[in-house]
Structures are given as C-alpha cells and as structure tokens.
Symmetry: C2
Subunit: 297 residues, 2 copies
C-alpha cells in the first residue's frame, strides 16, 4: 500500500525532526528552548488535513493556511517554513509531476486568493520575519489578513509575494556574501522562485546516500548548512551569525567530523540560541521528494 | 482546529515511541535490534488511513487490517498490538463514547467478518504469538486467511477470538503469578475482554501527571511495567523473564529511580533482547484516550 503524497509529506516532517544530530535544531537528542520534540510530532499530525487538501486540488493558499492552522497548536511555530515548501510539492506530486518544472507550474498558477491564504496563515503561528522594503509595508506579512485588501488592489499573487522576498540571485546569494538582510532575502522564497533547487538537490543526496535514513538526513542537513546561509538565523541573529555557522558547518562536513563533534557544535548553537531553521525546511522538502521517488524508510 | 480521533490515534503512536526512557523498547535514545525509531514513524503514518476508516464506520476487522497493512512497510511489525487497541477505541471515540462502556459496545458488536479481517492482518506483519490450545488449532492466527473457513463454520466473532486469548481473570492474572503461558494469555486480549481497564487507567495517570507529556509517557510505562506481566515478553522469553522485569520495574518506579537508573535497566533488557512490547501497547492506548479527553502536547 504506497503512501499518498500527503502521507509522505507528513512522514518527511517526522523524519526531518528525528534526523540527529542536526545542530541548532530540535532532534532526537535535543529540545530547543520552548520547542520540544513532541511539539513537532503534533505539528506534523496536525498539518496532515491541510496537506490532504493540497493533494486534492484545493487552492494552494487555502491548503497552506489549513496546514499551518492544524500545525500550530497553541500558536507554536514548528513547521511553517517546511509547509511552505511542502504544500506546492504535494500539489505537484498529486499531479504526478513532482519535478522542478512541475512545482514551478504550481507556483506560476498561484493567485491573489492564494496570497490571501498565505497572509492569513501568519495569524495562526508566531513566525520570524524581517521588515519588508518600504514600498512593501502595506504587504508586511505581520499584518496578516489586514493586508488582504492591499493584495487585492495590487493584484498580488502568492508567487509575487514570494518573489518579493527572494534573494536577487536565489541560491547563488545564499552561497555568496550578501551585504544586507534585504539582499539576502528568504531561503524559502528562493526555493519558490528557483524551481526548489535546494529541495531537489537534497532529495538526490538522500536517495544516493547509504545507511539509515535518519543518518542521511543529518548528513544532508550539515551539507546544506555548510553550503548556504541560513536565512532564519540571519534574520534573528544577523548576517555574521549566518556566515559563521555556514563556515563551521562546511568545515565539519568537509572534514567528515565525528557525530560527537557535530553534536558539540550543536551544543554551542543551542547555548547561543541560534536556530538554523530554514536549512531544516529544505531538508524536509528533500525528504518528501525522496519518499515520492521511492526511497524507503 | 481539534484533531480527529484518527489523528489523535496516530499522534498517540508517535508519542508512545518518543516517550523516553522506555526500558526494552524503541525510544528517542534507542533503536532495538532491527527496529529503528524511523520505522515507528513510518508505521504511524502508514496506519492512518486504516484509523480513518475505523472512525468513519468501516467494519472493525477491515479497518484493523488496513491499519496493519499500512503500518507494515516491508512486513515490519512496529505497532500491531497498539493498533489492536486503538482501532476499537477510535471507533468508540468517533461515536462520542470513548469510555470503557463505549469500547465494550464496539467489542460486543464485532462479527465473524471482523474476525476474518483480524486473521488477514497477520499476513501483513510478523507478529509474535504462542501456540493456541489444541481445540483452537484450526484458529491459530498464524494460519492467516486460511483460518477463515473455520471461523465461518464455527461462527466465531472477533470478540470470541480475543476472549479465547485472554487470561482467565484479566488484569488480575497479569498482576498475579500464573503457572503457564496458557494461563497468562495475552495482555491485549485482556484489554478487549475487560473494558480496556489498563488503557483507561494509563489515560488517567497521563492526564493527572505533570511535566512534558513524553516524561509522563515514560513514567506511566514504567508504572504499568511494574504492575502487570508483559505478555509479549513472556511469550518470547518465558514467564520467569516477565516476572523478573515486573519486579525490577516495580522497584525502580516505587523508589523514584533516576532517569539514568531506568536507562541502565533498559540497556540490560536490550542486551538480553527482552522487549516488553505489550506494555507499550497499553501506553499508546492510554495516550489516545488522554488526547481525546483534551490533554495537550
């Protein structure tokens, strides 16, 4: 009995949080601040009806809002970013086209109503965001549903919203040395605008890896963390924090550091309150694509 | 957005495996033999469609078979026993009667067709069972679907099947000192025939406990392990093993032993290959009832 796309998306959320060690993030060995492992379990289960709606053809924005509302018991944000990647991927998979082109089509088809669903989703959970550029103030996601009239009058689709938040040069910017948070933008927006390049790349590495899937998950997390700036970390703690984490993760990954060394790096990140959560989002998306391609648990 | 009964059942499976330390069982800190943590995550996700069918009113035996088939990727048995308890509890909850009386009604309503579904479920997963009494040889569950003609000719319902496997005196037998495996019977069959007494008891303790739900889960596991013989352990390693584990768990629980001491007991059980899995089944059922009653994660 093969798992449905929604089931694979839920399982991807669960495997992501269970991949260990995942420095700075919740994993089997670690809770982080007020977020505990079980909150991610409940978040994954709660998101499933929204993921089912995405698979069944509901508007992407509505399905995303439902998934976030189901995830966010007590307003906790455990997997908002993961769901932002998973919802269009689930839709593409339900169309039997879980490819960069297939998900780009889903993005291109989004509407103003989808943008409204995305804004409403921010009312369900506490999400870290940066100040938007001045001309976008009316569309600050922190306004939630209050921004919907501005979306409608400007005819802004969900793809437009995410394009405004993406780095100018997508993944290349994450790998480079941007001068400002505005130049860096958001890693998940970069995925939306760039054919989900990191997600599919993560999927290929997971599929090509050896050993238990949770070890491959941890390995791919460290690899991605060493290759691209984590934009959640940058928003919360500044660009220098993101540069430092990228460099140290790269060194650990390239040197084939022991599990203990990677865990010790995680201890340090947790002590500083540094949480590279956007990288975890790409890993969850990669797990989903890998499961869809038949990688087994 | 409240979780549905099927979602709560899936979450109960996830919380059960994440409760740590749970001596002798897979938990956040430990994989056991060929069963890894991620197999339980996939098992929970895979079981969901069967649990949804149970909630929607499908015959209990069919819903159970579906749940087991979805759980058992590659034939692995991660949560067969948990599902045997959860399926009737989900049905009772979907009828807004998740009480000992409500689930007893579900049991009483089972049919010969439900028994056939139960037997078919054994074809999907590798389940530990004992030899049946001689007069029941035609109904040995290891015969799978081959036993269905005998069920039909005898008019044996699923409640009848489980009554044949239950200890003569239910929970009291688990707490006593039976002389043989036949006298001991099966702990999950005892639940089916005894109003799910241990499951509801576990739920009350989880609801009354304090601290993170995974700590309460581990505490209730140790409490139950110290109160009743684990019938999976007895079947696989003999009555003396079950007596010993019950006594040592009781000592650890009554003395308020440290997490380290409980983990060390787990190390020892794992080294001996002793897996008290039936106790984990009751904990999963207790978590489900607690979630249905509004306990939050």
């Amino acid at each position: 009995m093969p798992r449905s796309p929604a089931a694979n998306a839920e399982l991807a959320l669960l495997l992501e949080v269970a991949g260990t060690p995942k420095p700075g993030n919740v994993d089997r060995e670690r809770d982080v601040a007020d977020l505990r492992f079980e909150h991610f379990l409940a978040g994954a289960v709660g998101a499933r009806p929204g993921l089912e709606r995405a698979a069944a053809g509901a508007p992407v924005g509505e399905a995303f809002e439902d998934a976030v509302a189901g995830m966010a018991e007590h307003g906790r944000n455990t997997q908002f970013g993961c769901l932002l990647l998973l919802v269009p991927l689930v839709r593409a998979a339900a169309r039997d086209d879980c490819t960069p082109e297939g998900v780009a089509d889903v993005v291109a088809d989004t509407t103003v109503a989808d943008a409204a669903g995305f804004y409403r989703a921010f009312e369900h959970a506490d999400v870290a965001v940066s100040d938007p550029p001045e001309e976008m103030a009316a569309l600050d996601v922190r306004r939630g549903a209050d921004a919907i009239p501005a979306l409608e009058s400007r005819g802004t689709t969900l793809a437009d919203v995410l394009a405004a938040g993406a780095p100018d040069d997508g993944v290349a910017t994450l790998r480079g040395d941007p001068d400002s948070l505005a130049e860096l933008g958001d890693g998940n927006a970069a995925e939306w605008c760039g054919g989900f390049a990191r997600s599919f790349d993560a999927a290929e590495r997971i599929a090509a890896g050896e050993g238990p899937i949770l070890e491959r998950t941890a390995d791919v997390f460290l690899a991605l963390l060493g290759e691209g700036l984590d934009t959640l970390l940058a928003k919360q703690h500044g660009l220098e924090a993101a540069f430092e984490v990228r460099e140290r993760a790269r060194d650990l990954h390239e040197s084939g550091a022991s599990r203990e060394a990677v865990s010790a790096f995680g201890d340090e990140l947790v002590a500083r309150g540094w949480n590279p959560g956007t990288t975890a989002d790409a890993v969850a998306a990669g797990l989903f694509v890998a499961l869809e391609r038949g990688v087994s648990v």
